[in-house]
Amino acid sequence: MIYLFGDSFAQCTYKEDTLLYQKTYPAILANHYKTKVKSYAKGGVANSFIFKSFNDLFGEIKKFNDDDIVIINITASSRIWFWENSPELTDTKKVQAAWKKEHLKFFDRGLNVRELHNFYKFYQLFMSFFYFEERERTIIENFILSLIKRTDNLNKPPIIIPCFDDEWKWTKKIVKKKKLPIIVPNLHLDDISRNEIKGTIPTTHNWECRINHLMPENHIILADKIINADKNTNNINFKSDFKKDLIESKDLETLRDKIRDAYE
């Protein structure tokens, strides 16, 4: 079994029998290893959601099978899991987007205007006065160290693919310093995703057409890199091979069909 934990970079959006799904790196991995994918990833979530979904499955007693593949995305530590049933609303941008586009869905889950407003205020206060790296790094390091015992029976060490710069640096540093049996790439996923875009990258896009923020060409390369991850050096080389300038920035949100065609 291939287990995926993380945010939008790991979530499996489409059903297994669709062509779109078959072009994604989880499906390519599943075909290669002749196994199934179980993804507990969800777009927009915070690390606390990712750690909880891991703990719910592998917190006690139950262990992985030795031939399982475990891939964990670590996301931006500035995201806060605020409501149990809406883990994807983790910062003010996402709340704004929810408010504009899909607020009915969130109201159905029991959220109301006041709660959205409270979160907005809370998040602004948190980021202005109470956010600092050292605490967030500690929480991530704590999770990374906690993985060792829980994954010690795997043939291939767990793979942690941080999505953003800070979290990637923190992960890489502790894995290297303490020589932990964890595979980490030498670049984070957001870099690869951004390099695909030609032109100025929009700062406020709420929705994009790429699956896992990657074009199909790079899904194949990513899957290949995971398959060939060197467990002796604990390294995946993300610095070469990935294709750049694959999509115009203006097409990210508007040309949904065009991008869908690219996958199909």
Partner: protein
């Protein structure tokens, strides 16, 4: 000389008096005391301090370690002030005021931070921490001791110990009830709002002696420990607000 490392909150924090149980343990076992515990601090701070020592290779596998697990509702809110987990409890004349965000921001933040679900997800940090302890201390000759402040966190620890092979030793009870039972006629409800406790580590000197013996014994045997031998009903509430002398007498 081997070391005794202490991490945690007010139950483990250092004080100058010689009767403090952590000092007694260091003396009894001829250890050099390194106390990183800070009163009022959160689990996040405790983990940070432990990981700093671990990453800096300051702890060796023949050292002794005591770890206090504080309530998971506490957060490490200000980087340089790990004792500040409740902003609304600060006195207006507090020396830290100049270093804090504006009072209005603090008040709003305090009001809002208990609304969200994020309070309970700190439990996941504790669950991860228990596995982290297993990794850090796997080669240690003497199993570290885990002291939990509150029943909620104790349940998580006990469940973990039942279901996993662990490299640490846990207390069978949490500390709060025993600190409360020292005070004559103190109810559980009143203890929640109890402030200005000047007992060192929330215990009178007699119980420091007993606690030191309990923990030394557990270090030697590697068996879980209980606080049941500690004395109850030995101090009035008024006496807890008075500073004890160097021998613990009021």
């Amino acid at each position: 000389m081997k070391n005794l490392f202490i991490f945690g909150d007010s139950y483990q924090a250092d004080h100058k008096e010689p009767y403090i149980y952590t000092k007694q343990i260091a003396n009894q076992l001829s250890l050099t005391l390194n106390n990183f515990a800070v009163a009022g601090s959160s689990l996040e701070w405790t983990i940070n301090q432990l990981l700093q020592c671990f990453k800096g290779n300051k702890i060796n596998d023949d050292d002794f370690v005591i770890i206090g697990v504080s309530g998971t509702s506490r957060r490490w809110l200000l980087r340089h002030y790990p004792n500040t987990n409740h902003l609304d409890q600060l006195d207006p004349s507090d020396f830290m005021k100049p270093f804090l965000p504006p009072t209005n921001a603090c008040k709003k933040f305090e009001k809002l931070r208990y609304l969200p679900y994020c309070e309970s997800i700190n439990n996941e940090t504790l669950k991860n921490f228990l596995f982290t302890l297993d990794y850090i201390f796997k080669e240690f000759r003497t199993k570290p001791l885990l002291m939990t402040s509150d029943d909620r966190e104790l349940k998580i620890v006990i469940d973990h110990v039942k279901q996993n092979e662990v490299n640490f030793v846990s207390a069978q009870e949490s500390l709060n009830p025993f600190a409360r039972r020292e005070i004559i006629d103190m109810t559980e409800e009143n203890y929640k709002h109890f402030r200005n406790d000047l007992r060192r580590n929330h215990f009178v000197w007699q119980n420091h002696n007993i606690l030191a013996d309990i923990l030394v014994q557990s270090f030697k045997t590697g068996q879980s420990f209980s606080y049941r031998k500690m004395k109850t009903n030995i101090i009035t509430e008024a006496e807890t607000h008075l500073s004890p002398d160097k021998n613990g007498k009021i």
